[in-house]
């Protein structure tokens, strides 16, 4: 079953605009991760936010985490055509549970940035 689910499934914007993607999850987590995938390639880790953090920045990326709502958002500011990719959130299994050690990925958001 999918732990993380992204919204929207697809997003199309112009260069320079901001892009916001959301992720919802179902069970308690100790961190949440975001990954990027260029078409036909492997995933690349972007950022990890821990359950005791509410916001984290990395360059043009801003990630928020609301554990009470079991949701996270990824904001890409001043987007560029090179940001065109699929973006996935991923959540780990809880310690002591049968899924511990695994990362579960959502279905992803396809972002298209038009020049």
């Amino acid at each position: 079953s999918q732990q993380g689910e992204e919204d929207p499934q697809a997003l199309s914007i112009q260069e320079g605009e901001n892009a916001t993607m959301n992720c919802s999850y179902k069970t308690s987590i100790n961190n949440l991760q975001w990954y990027r995938q260029n078409s036909g390639r492997g995933l690349v880790h972007l950022i990890l936010i821990r359950s005791n953090e509410r916001e984290k920045h990395s360059g043009r990326l801003r990630v928020t985490l609301d554990t009470s709502k079991k949701s996270s958002s990824l904001l890409i500011t001043a987007s560029r055509a090179a940001d065109t990719a699929s973006y996935f959130c991923a959540t780990p299994g809880v310690a002591g549970g049968t899924s511990y050690g695994k990362l579960t990925f959502g279905q992803g958001t396809i972002l298209t940035v038009h020049p």
């Binding site: 990954y35 990890l48 821990r50 511990y100 050690g101 990362l103 579960t104 990925f105």
Partner: protein, 115 residues
């Protein structure tokens, strides 16, 4: 930088053939994973391995087996391929987890087509 190498970028096989997908990493990571990625379904975990000769079933192990004889190599085996195994296969690695489920490093993927 971590390098995760998957043996083939594209593979075309006929139904019933046996297929080995190989993944090699150069960073002495203990944990290795095999995912498959399908449109609309995201990434699904097939098998993972915590260390040499250890393996654990993921969410969709049916029709697959794995081998981890050496630390740097994790093989996914499709004993008798079927058309529903047409997919992108992604290998990932991670150092031993200290309790926080840290990030994964992915290979570039193998697109397998079963005719």
């Amino acid at each position: 930088d971590v390098k995760v190498t998957q043996s083939s970028r594209y593979l075309v096989k006929r139904t019933g053939e046996k297929v080995f997908l190989e993944c090699v990493q150069d960073m002495d990571h203990e944990n290795m994973f095999w995912y498959r990625q399908d449109p609309g379904l995201g990434l699904r975990l097939i098998y993972f391995s915590y260390d040499v000769k250890m393996k654990e079933k993921g969410d969709i192990p049916e029709g697959y087996s794995v081998s981890r004889e050496k630390k740097e190599r994790f093989s996914l085996i499709l004993e008798s391929t079927s058309t529903n195994q047409t997919s992108m296969y992604l290998c990932a690695t991670r150092p031993r987890v200290s309790g926080a489920n840290e990030k994964l490093f992915f290979g570039s993927g193998t697109q397998l087509s079963v005719l």
